[in-house]
Each structure stands twice: as C-alpha cells, then as structure tokens.
Symmetry: C2
Subunit: 263 residues, 2 copies
Amino acid sequence: MIRNILLTIEYDGTGFHGWQKQPGQTTVQGHLETVMSRLFKTEISLNGTSRTDAGVHALGQRASFISDLGIPTEKIPLVVNNALCGAERGPFAIAPVRIKAAEEMPMDFHARFDAAGKEYIYSIRTGKEPDIFRRNFVYHVAEQLDTGAMRKGCEALIGTHDFKSFESSGGNPRLTTVRTIYKAQISEDEPGEIRFTIRGDGFLYNMVRIITGTLVDIGLGKIAAEDMPDIIEARDRSRAGHTAPPGGLCLAEVFYDEAKLKG
Amino acid sequence: MIRNILLTIEYDGTGFHGWQKQPGQTTVQGHLETVMSRLFKTEISLNGTSRTDAGVHALGQRASFISDLGIPTEKIPLVVNNALCGAERGPFAIAPVRIKAAEEMPMDFHARFDAAGKEYIYSIRTGKEPDIFRRNFVYHVAEQLDTGAMRKGCEALIGTHDFKSFESSGGNPRLTTVRTIYKAQISEDEPGEIRFTIRGDGFLYNMVRIITGTLVDIGLGKIAAEDMPDIIEARDRSRAGHTAPPGGLCLAEVFYDEAKLKG
C-alpha cells in the first residue's frame, strides 16, 4: 500500500556536506537515499525539512517520502539503521546517521511545507583550553563571555521582525526576510558550557549562526547588548556580528503543531 | 642550548592511522613532526611512549625529542598548539591533537624506555540505542552487561602473569609476554556508562582491547568469570574473548614514577 512516511532523523554532520543532495558530495540526504533505495529495492526520494549546512548536526531533522514498502512503518527505523551501520567499516561501527522514528502521515503531508517552525540549539564552550574531543560539536571561545549581556541581547530577538541583518548573502532577494522568534534563551549548565536555544517559525540562510556570533560578540563586549534593536532595524548584514562556526549548531526539533511551537 | 624535552599530548585518534609514523598514512607522530619541524625550522623527531592503534585516543601520550630550540620550554605548548590549529581548515577550527605540557628532562631520558607503566581507560555504553555523537569514543553494546561478573573477571588479572592469551598475532615471539597489572577496575558512573581502567607495567599488542572484549563476553554471559584464571593460564589467544573496537580505548596516563604506578 502506498504510504506517506515521516522520519525523525539524527546525525553527526561532521563528515557531511550538509543535508541536501549535491552531485559529487557526501550529504546526509544523498547517503540516506542511497542506503534506503538499495535496502528497499525501490527509489526513495526524501523531502527534508531543513537544509542544514556542512558540519551542522541534527537531533530532530524530519523528512517525508511516499513509497509502497513491503514492511510495516514501525519496522522502518530498525531495518534502515541496520543497513546504515552495515554501510560503515568495521564490525562494531555505528553510523553517523540514525532514524529515530517513522510514522504514517496523510498523503498530502509534506515535511517541509507543513512545518510550523523549528528549534535550534547552539553549544559554546569558554575557557583557555579547548576540549579537542568535542571540537566538532561546540564552538570554543577562549575568553569569558558575559552571559548577562547575551541574555539581554536575546530579548530584542523575540517577536516578529525583519531579520535581513542576520542573513548571509545568497538568499533569494524576492522572498520575505520577516520571521517570528518565539524563544531565544541563553543557559549555562555548568561554568563555561553555554547553550543558546532559539525557536521560530523559520530561519534565513545562516541566521542562527549569525545571531549566535552576534551574541558572542555581545558577550565579549565588542557589541553592546543595547544595540540589538538597532542592528535588527538596520536590515544590514555588516551591522551584525560574525558567523559562528557550523559545528556548534544542532537542529533540535521541527514543530508541526503550532501550539507547541509557540510554547 | 640543546635540551631533551618531554611532551604530554592528547589526541582524538579517529582520523589517524595510529601514533606511529608510516609512509603514506596520516599518523599522530607524522603530523606532529611535520607541523613542529615547519614551525621550528629544524627537523623534529619524536620518541613516543605508546604506539596507539588507528582510532585509539590519548589523554596523556608522552613523547620526547632532543633539539636546540630558540624558545623557552614552557612556551612550546602554546606555539605548537597554535600551529596545529592553524593547519586545520576554517577560522575557528580546533586541532585533533594538543600539547598539554612540555618539560625539560635529563639528556639521557627516553620517553618510552624510561616509562614505568601506563594506564588505559576503555569506555563502553550499553542500551538499545547508540549515541551516534560519541560513536568514535565508546563501544556500544546493545545488551545489558553483568558488571558484577565483569568485576570478578578483573580480579584474576591483577598481579604478574603471562598474558599471551591476550596478544594479537604479530607480536615478536622472542619477547616475553609476562606483564604485571596493578589495577583492573570496572566502574559505572551512570546506568549504561561503563568504564574499564587498567594499569600495568606494559601491554602486549591489542592486550587492552582483547581483555576488554573478554570482560564484555563475561558481562554477556558468554564466558564465565570463574574461567578467567584458566584463560590466562592457557596462553592461547583462542581461549580469550573478542577484540573490542579501537574507538573506546584511550591512553590515559604514562607513569615514570614507579611508586605512583603501583598506586
């Protein structure tokens, strides 16, 4: 029976050129489609929710596909994960991509177009010495950061704004750069381990990384927290801070339930 | 002035073909020597303590080298680490290798020959779901392990024994396979996070990984803990368990002080 299946996917983006399939590049979408098509002996074409960049990770990427598979939906994670691990080298190897869940959706459902919003988490570590074992997962900042100022900088982000100042060049100029942010929060779980959580109805190209870089610049005292409203107002990329590196970024969750998105 | 300098080095071994320099392979020793020789404009030749395998990590590898450097010993970590990070791609990249300390030693000191012993830590994670973000650092075992039985298995390891049963083929048959183990300890910091610590005066080829695999087999009930003395006694590789994968293994510390080694 033809079904529309929605996958929840986690991945370590370190070794991938991002989510989206590209000729001659190893991407998460390309790798998953290859392994799944071989496994199910039918061409699988995934519609991913978020085009995460090279080096960006995911705990809750979503992708839907329509297919006529011979196995029950709930068996899909296990068989795909076995195939993914089998594609790695070594008898004990764990794949960098894992299907966390599969669920059947109405035929007109589309993982990207129907998404109400997303939550990203960006991880920062401060201190003189980097943790080399987490170098692909956290942004190491050698100086101390003023998290109070960073929290203040977050406040101006909440609500509906034109975020053009936080978009890398390459965005489509005909599309709107207005987005709504529901949550922008700095937490410090232990000294030096800073986590920035941002939730909104959508994000421009590199928006989370530029916002994070701007917050780091605020934390370093290079930009005043009080200037955040002006930076937003300016609609000018040169007014915002640097683009934080991709490894600290993780797509945490995709929301299909608007009420849940708005928290 | 010509000095004999001892380095303490940590590395993420994931992307390396082990410590030891090999033609045509990226190794930790080869990479460090290349970066340091370029930096100091003189050929640096490192004597490493432990020839860690491909994929094995280190928190406390040691290596000594004799050179006539123009900078004070205590500045070496900073300048080498800057050069190592500069050799990586991207403006915020952290290198997978880091010098933790440099100290001046007597001219006749040799990092390997003078070592009194070493401590290794092997990390295991049990549970149905692997943690893909730590897949290169922990050995994932899907079944539960009987840590009580594993602790019992550890007891037989303590002391001076012929550990030939725990040596991969490739060892030099003319060399002794007798070693002294001072510590062999299983701890479970949180449920499913098991850590095996082993300290001894020396280790045979793959010895820690074969001992770990044997302990895992004991934890799974495939080998009886009571059989450990017989397995040692047999001097036969086929009597021991499987070889645990390299990623879970970390060279934690090298001891030059015999009293400290014996704890």
